[in-house]
């Protein structure tokens, strides 16, 4: 035992805001900008759109899963973001992509605050159910709120967005817009989840202990719900921009199953998870030429398999394998140095 007077803590480790995984994820998303510049195949471009939109929407799930809350409310906030953009574009003639992006983030984020006050006291299945119902209610409002939302016709004729006055109209330019929105979404999520990683981990692992150590848990849940809504709103913007239409079917409540699947299959522990999940599953859906109606069932099956076989998803599996290898290598190095020391 160390004598008390000599007791010293081990050196403080520098903890950078972003770890390697965040950098890799952001780099991958940033690299997607190259696709529309290098490729002209419309199939590839459309896939890129779908993957990036799916990944951005999955971030909404990812953020709430930091606190062990499974949110089905992503399509609801995507709709809020998407319709905000459509109304601003079609009725008010605002096309500046930065202004629209800010609106697509802020409107859902602000709406999430009172909603969060209502539903964030729920946990587990109750939270799941209420967020699912929320998305159903928004569907109903979209269909019934015809003067504002265009009802079953949706809002058609979204003008092309502009970036510093340049119209982003062509296929490739639309993909560029999607890339930009995805990058902003990933950047916001990475900064937010890393900045408050201790708080979120504590709420996830032991919220009673966290509160008794002085953490006002509800504040962090409320902020996270709001940011999650904002990031979902960016995905909604991207969909509306790709389709040039805001339609209720883009925000169907069953699509929340897809976003949850992307996150869980990809890996809910790291921000790379939603990107990997969306990338693989969107491509897989296309590869098997599956129509939408089968995907929720297959995705459900996939969730069961992944949670049984690899709780951390694909990214979790990969990091575990890497770590095991590293440890083996570490042991080998130690052995080696021992042998060297002896000789």
């Amino acid at each position: 035992m160390t004598s008390p007077s000599a007791a010293r803590l081990p050196e403080e480790r520098r903890q950078p805001l972003f770890s390697g995984v965040e950098w890799i994820t952001l780099a991958l998303v940033a690299m997607s900008f190259a696709i529309p510049l290098l490729v002209t195949n419309p199939q590839v471009l459309s896939q890129t759109n779908l993957i990036l939109i799916g990944a951005t929407a999955a971030l909404g799930v990812f953020i709430m899963l930091r606190m062990d809350l499974m949110s089905f409310a992503v399509p609801c906030f995507m709709a809020l973001g998407g319709y905000t953009v459509a109304i601003l574009g079609i009725q008010l003639g605002i096309t500046d992509v930065i202004l629209l992006g800010i609106a697509a983030f802020l409107v859902p984020a602000i709406c999430a605050i009172p909603l969060g006050a209502l539903i964030l006291r729920l946990k587990g299945v109750y939270f799941v159910l209420v967020t699912f119902v929320l998305t159903e209610i928004v569907q109903l409002l979209l269909f019934e709120g015809e003067p504002l939302t265009g009802g079953a016709n949706g809002l058609v004729g979204m003008p092309a967005v502009t970036f510093f006055g340049v119209e982003l109209f062509s296929n490739a330019q639309v993909v560029l817009t999607t890339c930009g929105l995805a990058l902003v979404g990933f950047l916001v999520t990475a900064i937010f989840t890393r900045r408050f990683r201790y708080e979120f981990a504590a709420i996830e692992k032991n919220d009673v202990l966290a509160e008794s150590l002085g953490l006002a848990g509800w504040k962090y849940k409320a902020i996270a719900f709001s940011v999650s809504a904002g990031v979902s709103g960016l995905a909604g913007f991207a969909i509306v921009n790709v389709l040039m239409t805001a339609h209720p079917s883009s925000f169907a409540s069953m699509s929340s199953v897809n976003y949850i699947t992307y996150t869980i299959v990809g890996g809910k522990g790291q921000i790379l998870g939603p990107l990997v999940g969306a990338g693989l599953l969107v491509s897989a859906t296309d590869y098997f030429a599956l129509r939408g109606e089968f995907s929720p069932g297959l995705f459900g099956l996939l969730i069961i398999v992944v949670t049984l076989v690899a709780g951390g998803g694909l990214v979790g599996l990969a990091t575990n394998l890497l770590r095991r290898r590293e440890r083996k290598a570490g042991v080998a190095v130690k052995e080696l140095s021992r042998v060297e020391a002896r000789s």
Binding site: T2, A7, L9, R13, A210, L213
Partner: protein, 255 residues
């Protein structure tokens, strides 16, 4: 948080607290005072309402009537995290750590949530060394032996720089030879941090060793208070605590 508020203690006044769950009175008109920087032991048989009392004082449960003051501030019914910021901090009977986190990250969390920084941990270093937590600094909390997990949980409470600690059976589940850690812990809290302590405990030796003053709860009522030697010699306390009949005594020895 300035250090002056922390070095300066505040007394805990519990004033005729009652608590009923429906028709069940678990707590009836209990009053006592823990002086600033002082130490009061709470003993009583299982089900006497000791943990309920800590839940009420810390703010987790609302009292049916009565009030609790820390210094001049009323603390009952306030959120637990607000009370923690005010220096009123509890520990848990079970091991309470953040699993999957290293010892270091657990302690950093406690500092962050209570608005402290690493200097708080430096101050706790002698204690951390004595408990063997420094040797395990980079190990996950959930792979530590039970005794270490428990001491880590208790140290988390200290890392919030409390003025008044509510300890819920800190020695429960510890080996006999680990229990001296609790002595060190309580002394450190009192002497180094000037912190008052309310110690709920079943280990009579520990209570006798540490507490100059104890209160006895039975069936939610305060049945005796005073110096431990004196109180523990009273017939009603012995009956309440150890049970009157020989049969129960036998059971106790078997278990």
């Amino acid at each position: 948080m300035s250090t002056s508020t922390h070095t300066q203690g505040a007394a805990l006044h519990v004033q005729s607290i009652s608590k009923a769950f429906g028709g069940l009175k678990v707590f009836d008109d209990v009053s006592f005072v823990v002086p600033a920087g002082g130490l009061v032991g709470v003993i009583g048989p299982n089900g006497a309402g000791k943990t309920t009392m800590i839940n009420i004082i810390s703010g987790r449960l609302r009292a049916s009537s009565g009030q609790v003051l820390l210094g001049d501030t009323r603390v009952d019914g306030r959120p637990v995290y607000t009370n923690c910021a005010g220096g009123l901090v509890r520990s848990f009977q079970q091991t309470a750590t953040f699993s999957g986190y290293t010892v270091e990250d657990n302690l950093i969390s406690a500092c962050r949530f209570s608005g402290g920084n690493r200097s708080v941990l430096e101050r706790l270093a002698p204690l951390l060394a004595q408990f063997g937590l420094i040797e395990n600094w980079h190990r996950n909390a959930d792979v530590l032996p039970y005794g270490l997990q428990k001491m880590l949980g208790l140290t988390l409470a200290l890392a919030t720089q409390p003025r008044m600690l509510l300890l819920d059976e800190p020695a429960a589940g510890l080996e006999k030879n680990e229990r001296s850690n609790i002595d060190a812990y309580v002394r450190f809290a009192q002497q180094e941090l000037g912190c008052g302590v309310l110690l709920v405990e079943h280990d009579m030796d520990l209570v006798k060793r540490l507490c100059p003053y104890v209160i006895v709860l039975d069936g939610g009522r305060l049945i005796a208070e005073g110096a431990p030697a004196e109180v523990l010699a009273r017939k009603d306390v012995i009956d309440a605590y150890l049970g009157g009949s020989d049969e129960e005594d036998d059971d106790a020895q078997h278990s």
